[in-house]
């Protein structure tokens, strides 16, 4: 599907209170245009809950529910089984952040994937706990400054690299795993369309630059998302039953230095830190593409 062919219908409407330049509403709005009316949405605790689901100003035009933080996988399992029992054709979607996916929610997510529940799980990944004020998560990249990994005199930001969550989900051998970015919108829409048609557990992982948390100019969100893909910091692929069926390779791989430029969270980077991050990217590149960059 092309952007031009997207339905006019809106299921996540304007008037929500996301920060300027936030990618999450772009993800959700476009995704919902494809998923359509017969969809039930769950969000755990995250920015999306607050900016789209605050009573009485609800941005959702489809049934929407929230229970807690760590249980997206099990909450959507319950709803989906109820619809199955009642023979209602409803797409059940859970939309969690990286904290709710990589960290506190990984157990319920893994359980739902292992049971091959008939649901779509979306992770919008802004690489830290943004809703609570930019604390590190298992998704935060190496060296990044967050409020719990402040670059100090002794420790220069986060010491560990980003966990590869999509690969963990691929290891569950579920019907569909896709990594996506709104900078590559045609690919994004195609993957949502494909996920909608598949039965069983579908995991969509979308890169979601956060101007507030990453400290960049809100007009640059899409540009930064594109640079993440071009540098190899974020890789677009899709896998069916654990096997990668399609992987996007940037025409020209840019150095990570170019990606981190303009993001305040990396401002304190020394040449050695840049080198460490580049090494991580190159290793990931080799693993995913089967060749040296």
């Amino acid at each position: 599907m092309n952007l031009n062919d997207l339905p006019e219908d809106e299921y996540f409407t304007s008037g929500h209170t996301a920060c300027p330049g936030c990618v999450a509403p772009i993800i959700v709005r476009n995704m919902m245009k494809i998923l359509g009316k017969n969809t039930v949405v769950y969000t755990p605790a995250n920015c999306l809950l607050v900016f789209g689901g605050t009573y009485p100003y609800i941005a959702w035009k489809v049934p929407y529910f929230h229970e807690a933080f760590e249980n997206t996988g099990s909450s959507i399992s319950g709803a989906a089984r109820a619809f199955k029992k009642k023979r209602k054709d409803v797409t059940v979607v859970g939309i969690a952040g990286d904290g709710g996916t990589y960290d506190i929610g990984i157990q319920a997510l893994s359980g739902a994937a292992e049971r091959n529940e008939d649901v779509i799980y979306v992770c919008y990944d802004n690489e830290a706990y943004m809703n609570t004020g930019i604390q590190r998560s298992g998704s935060t990249p190496y060296g990044a400054s967050t409020t719990t990994t402040p670059p100090g005199k002794k420790i220069p930001g986060k010491l560990e690299h980003k966990k590869d969550m999509a690969e963990i989900m691929r290891a569950h051998e579920v019907p569909y795993v896709a990594t996506m970015s709104v900078s590559h919108i045609a690919d994004f829409l195609r993957k949502v369309e494909k996920a909608k048609k598949i039965k069983g557990f579908r995991y969509l992982h979308v890169f979601s630059p956060c101007p507030t948390g990453w400290r960049f100019d809100p007009s640059k969100s899409i540009e930064i998302a594109r640079k993440a893909v071009d540098s190899g910091m974020w890789t677009l692929y899709e896998a069916e039953y654990g096997e990668i069926m399609d992987i996007y390779k940037p025409k020209k791989k840019i150095p990570v230095e170019e990606y981190i430029k303009g993001q305040g969270r990396f401002r304190h980077f020394t040449p050695e830190m840049i080198e460490e991050l580049q090494k991580w990217v190159d290793k990931k590149w080799e693993r995913l593409y089967g060749e040296k960059p």
Partner: protein, 411 residues
């Protein structure tokens, strides 16, 4: 009750095979699972924990044998079990789970979410010790701390009551004046793994007593609504009041339902409390769970000796039967409260609430802590409770809180 519920989805019937009324010799766990089957639950999500395991195993057998086509979600934790049944109940399906002890503690975060969203989930809890130290035997320290989560809670005396209460539980919880979840305690091993004769009604009789669940708020794409929104202070206080009111409403509904159940099935549970030989009793012991049976025997024996003793079985702990107790205890001279749990530094949780209910009564209210950690409560222990109360009647009360049969502690 006006028919204002939401008709939703096809059918609602899960049961494939009709079940005849029969007398069975079964464990408390089996009684709980069989009752869920009779209640025609649509979604079950559960995680195994000793001594609740027989409930999930039995229900899995019902599903695999094709007796029901209920959805059974074998989740990876109790937290997910409660999360899943909240999701299924919000989608309009009658839902069931069961747990015990550590599992209930892990669920704790989700309990006020179930009640706050007014989802009438029914959950047997096999009452077991909470760690540390870890133990698997009977204690109420698992369920008592869930007192303020907005769940109704009651304790069963025998396996028949377990079966009957699961069926009545749905009828009480799904009443539109209540719409609160309910947990029913059954004593670990004493009931959960002990066989007793139980009369099970037929599925047709239960269907007649318990009509399909009609939710008011439900996840329905034809009528979209948001359930569990992020809510500012302008609204939450009123919602808390509503839940408070629902819990108060539950008292009348429990009476109505137990009365209707008695007229249909012949077993009368008398609402929130059950009185035994209380009319002229000078001392009255308040019990919960299986110890009630032992206490009944002791009352009979003491009555034969001319001692004016009586018994109240506290069935419901939430809603708390404060008015009922004030009425039933007005002529008693000494009151004793049995507790199988302790609020550290204060006393037994049931005793605390009984004392609060009896505020202004000028008579001793003693507390007997016994059976904690699964220690057996034998007839002599209950006799000791009555003897201490009879002593107190003659002005010889030594202590307000008595630890029965506890090494190193004077009684």
């Amino acid at each position: 009750m006006p028919d204002k519920g939401h008709k939703y989805g096809e059918g609602g019937e899960s049961m494939i095979q009709k079940l005849e009324a029969k007398k069975m010799v079964i464990t408390g766990d089996h009684a709980a699972a069989y009752a869920a089957l009779l209640a025609d639950v649509e979604v079950v999500a559960a995680y195994p924990i000793t001594p609740q395991t027989l409930i999930v195993e039995d229900f899995a057998t019902f599903v695999d044998d094709g007796i029901t086509d209920a959805e059974f979600i074998m989740v990876e934790s109790e937290h997910s079990a409660m999360s899943a049944v909240i999701g299924s109940e919000a989608a309009g399906a009658r839902s069931f789970t069961a747990t015990s002890s550590q599992g209930l503690a892990l669920m704790h975060e989700m309990l006020p979410i179930a009640s706050g969203l007014h989802l009438p989930i029914v959950m047997p809890v096999v009452n077991r010790t909470v760690a540390a130290p870890i133990g698997i035997w009977c204690e109420y320290n698992d369920m008592m701390p869930q007192r303020d989560t907005g769940w109704m809670q009651m304790y069963s005396e025998d396996n028949q009551e377990v079966l009957d209460m699961v069926i009545m539980g749905y009828k009480i919880a799904e009443n539109h004046d209540v719409l609160l979840p309910i947990m029913m305690g059954l004593d670990a091993f004493i009931l959960s793994h002990t066989v007793e004769p139980v009369e099970a009604p037929s599925s047709d009789e239960v269907a007649d007593f318990l009509p399909p669940y009609k939710p008011i708020a439900v996840l329905d794409p034809d009528n979209p609504m948001a359930i569990g929104t992020f809510t500012p202070p302008e609204y939450i206080q009123e919602l808390r009041y509503q839940t408070h009111r629902c819990m108060k409403n539950a008292r009348k509904v429990i009476y109505d339902v137990t009365k209707e159940f008695a007229s249909k099935f012949g077993r009368n549970y008398h609402g929130l409390i059950e009185e035994y030989e209380t009319d002229d009793a000078e001392v009255i012991l308040i019990t919960m769970g299986t110890v009630t049976g032992t206490a009944r025997d002791v009352v009979d024996a003491y009555r034969k000796q001319g001692k004016k003793v009586g018994l109240i079985k506290l069935r419901f702990f939430r809603p708390f039967p404060a008015e009922e107790l004030r009425k039933a205890l007005q002529n008693a001279e000494v009151i004793g409260v049995f507790d199988r749990a302790v609020s550290y530094g204060v006393g037994g949780p049931a005793w605390i609430d009984v004392k609060s209910a009896l505020y202004g009564f000028d008579k001793p209210v003693l507390n007997f802590l016994a059976g904690i950690g699964g220690r057996d409560i034998v007839r002599g222990d209950v006799e000791k409770m009555f003897d201490i109360m009879l002593d107190a009647k003659n002005g010889k009360a030594k202590k307000e809180i008595v630890w029965i049969n506890t090494r190193g502690v004077e009684e």
